[in-house]
């Protein structure tokens, strides 16, 4: 052991550990910009990950047909019942259609949003150590993507970019406890903050906090971004599924079912430009 501690090998290993500690210090001050090592390695890994996630997706879909045949049968039965129920609800259709038109007008869906500049990307990696459904996409600064850019799907908001390299970017989702999104309820116009919690994230849900105690927020209400410097206004976040007082009883909190399937999405849009971006 004494020989080892006095050897050149030991000194080299200490140097390696010092370099690792140096990386950590650099990462603290880089503010989400990928380190040189990540950049170099990503040039090799990103194309391979893009290829492997594509292959995995196709192979998975192929085998799912066989593996999930009983599930498909059950689903078919369930859907048949649902169709019968829906036929019974046909009378409500016109009302729902009218409501939907109102919502569309209210929300201003993506095609009406001339202020948004979007870039499409594919999810290429979900790391074992990633929490709250975070993932890596195959586009980076080379495609004008920057740290803090909002990420969404056609269904709704997914999260935001937290680290970016030339060919890749890491995305934290709205299930993450570290994310805060300014939001409002489409029915009552009450504003709050959407964030993740550890308990709800396990169920794929998030919550809207700081709603006024007298708020009329109800189950089924749509929740949208309220806009500002971090997220564009009127992007759908999800639907209220529960409402209740917070642990101190000082305000209401609503449990939100995100509109986007955060944990399983394969393709996303990154909003690279929007009105009010970065303004204080």
């Amino acid at each position: 052991m004494k020989d080892f501690l006095q050897s050149v090998r030991f000194k080299i290993l200490i140097a390696i550990l010092t370099v690792m500690a140096g990386f950590m210090i650099m990462a603290v001050y880089s503010g989400g910009t990928a380190s040189l090592v990540s950049e170099v390695v990503s040039f090799v890994t990103v194309p391979l990950q893009r290829m492997s996630s594509g292959i995995s997706g196709r192979v998975g879909e192929f085998f799912d047909r066989f593996l999930n045949s009983s599930a498909v049968y059950d689903e078919n039965e369930r859907l048949q019942l649902q169709v019968n129920e829906l036929l019974g609800e046909l009378a409500d259709y016109e009302r729902a259609k009218h409501e939907n038109e109102q919502f569309r007008e209210l929300l201003g869906v993506l095609e009406d949003r001339k202020d948004l500049k979007v870039e499409t990307a594919s999810v290429i990696a979900r790391d074992p150590n990633a929490r709250f459904g975070s993932f890596t996409i195959d586009k980076g600064t080379g495609s004008n993507i920057s740290v803090m850019d909002p990420v969404m799907t056609a269904d709704g908001l997914v999260g935001r970019v937290t680290e970016v390299g030339v060919t890749y970017a890491k995305v934290v989702t709205i299930l993450d406890i570290a994310i805060d999104v300014g939001a409002y309820d489409s029915a009552t116009r009450d504003v709050g903050i959407v964030s993740g919690t550890i308990d709800l994230a396990a169920e794929g849900l998030c919550m809207m906090e700081y709603l006024p105690r007298d708020s009329k927020v109800a189950e089924g209400d749509l929740v949208l971004t309220s806009g500002g410097s971090m997220f564009p206004r009127d992007i759908i976040i999800g639907k209220v599924i529960r409402v209740g007082p917070n642990s101190h009883g000082t305000s209401l909190m609503a449990t939100i079912q995100p509109a986007a399937s955060v944990k399983t999405i394969k393709n996303v849009f990154i909003i690279t430009e929007f009105q009010g971006q970065g303004q204080e």
Partner: protein, 179 residues
Amino acid sequence: MREYQGYMNRTKSIKVAKYTIYALLLLLLYILQTVPGLFVLFETKPVWVVAAAVAIAMLEGEFVGGIYGAAAGLLCDMGGFSLFGFNGFFVSLCCILTGLLVIYLMYCNIWGCLLCVFITMLVCNGLEYVFTFGIWEYEAEWKLFTMKALPTVLYSTLITPIPYFLVRGIYNKFAAALK
């Protein structure tokens, strides 16, 4: 003299080939561990590269193990969301200690490897949990350890025989060639 030089050159090229194959193996395992939806069990995925690095440390010793440990850790940092270099530091440190343990205290076998992978994963995940969530006292933050970190540790330990026997196969093949 020329014969000796030829022998040395051959030895060197065999070692370079072996270390290149180890590096490619780490890269391949990294790709596998990050593919969305692959090897997912109850929303948990195993960390293949750490198991492979620990196996390399056991068979090749503390020096080579330390280097591959750093590489495996950095790969984890690349895919994960912790501070870049965090896993690089601790996986490397654990691989150095694993190499030393095998030299001075422990047998180099699958059981030793399982134990070392378990401890390495527990140290890395435990410290990451403490620094990222534990000290900030989020509500129910302990659940992240029991429901996410611990299953990842156990799953990664469970799959250890695969990278261990892969690495041992490569090691034995090249050891025979060197003889």
